[in-house]
Symmetry: C2
């Protein structure tokens, strides 16, 4: 009886662990209203960049109100901070880069407990901005490994530009 | 007596007209908080552009809440609409355009009466974003002439990109 109980506890624990893992991958929701969040900066990854295949496009970075003060001050971000990259296609018209259609939305959301294994950040990317098309299945490999060098900025590449 | 009165009325009218003209050039205030306004679009005017000398830089366009619905719907803008261009320097780093320091702030503010001679829009540009450095002294020549071809969009170049 004790043995069965222990087994059940173990199985329950495994299911709980699986549930947490599934949650970590799936619970991030595509944010809305981010074009009213503080505009952090813009970056255009052009065809000449070695990152074009993965990150090509016009990146507009926004931060929600939770993280805005930390961005300006520097240092670590409070839980609930969200950074969004509003990623668009672009075209080149006589020396001017012009914004095109939405390519995708990238999200970094801070929860130091839930996402402890990836620096306290949850990561997701929605292709075309479609809530039904999350593209990140392995946040460590697809996202966090490239953010690790920025540990001294709480894994955030963007800095405040007045 | 009647003659003197008419003369005084005329002089008063001229002074009023001068005051209005002076106001039209000087009353536009450098807006604040625009990085929380709706982010309309981004444009990078690169060195290859024939416009680089005048408009070179990374342009981030924002619209205030008064004009946001009109932007999305298309058509004419209500009085009180403000568009800001947050203009920054940029550098090119291995195929990526990276945002630099603030170069200036451009404002279009709608007041169909006050700015009737320039399509209902007041124009100003502050060099370096400095409220003490307004650069527009002749809105017609420096701004409006280039906006006239966009009459069917109420003289606004930007359109809504979802």
């Amino acid at each position: 009886m004790a043995r069965t109980f222990r087994f059940l506890v173990t199985v329950a624990g495994m299911i709980a662990a699986l549930a947490v893992t599934a949650e970590a991958a799936d619970d991030l929701k595509r944010p809305t209203g981010y074009r009213h969040w503080f505009h952090v900066n813009t970056m255009v990854v052009d065809k000449a960049s070695p990152l074009f295949a993965v990150l090509g496009g016009m990146h507009n970075v926004h931060v929600n109100s939770v993280g805005e003060a930390a961005l300006k001050k520097g240092g670590s971000y409070p839980n609930g901070t969200m950074f969004v990259i509003d990623l668009h296609d672009f075209s080149l018209d006589d020396g001017t880069y012009v914004e095109g259609a939405l390519k995708g939305l990238a999200l970094m959301e801070k929860d130091s407990k839930k996402y402890a294994s990836t620096g306290g950040w949850g990561f997701q990317f929605w292709a075309g901005g479609d809530p039904k098309k999350p593209a990140v299945t392995d946040a460590t490999k697809q996202c966090f490994e490239c953010h690790q060098p920025k540990k001294d900025q709480d894994y955030v590449y963007s800095t405040y530009i007045p």
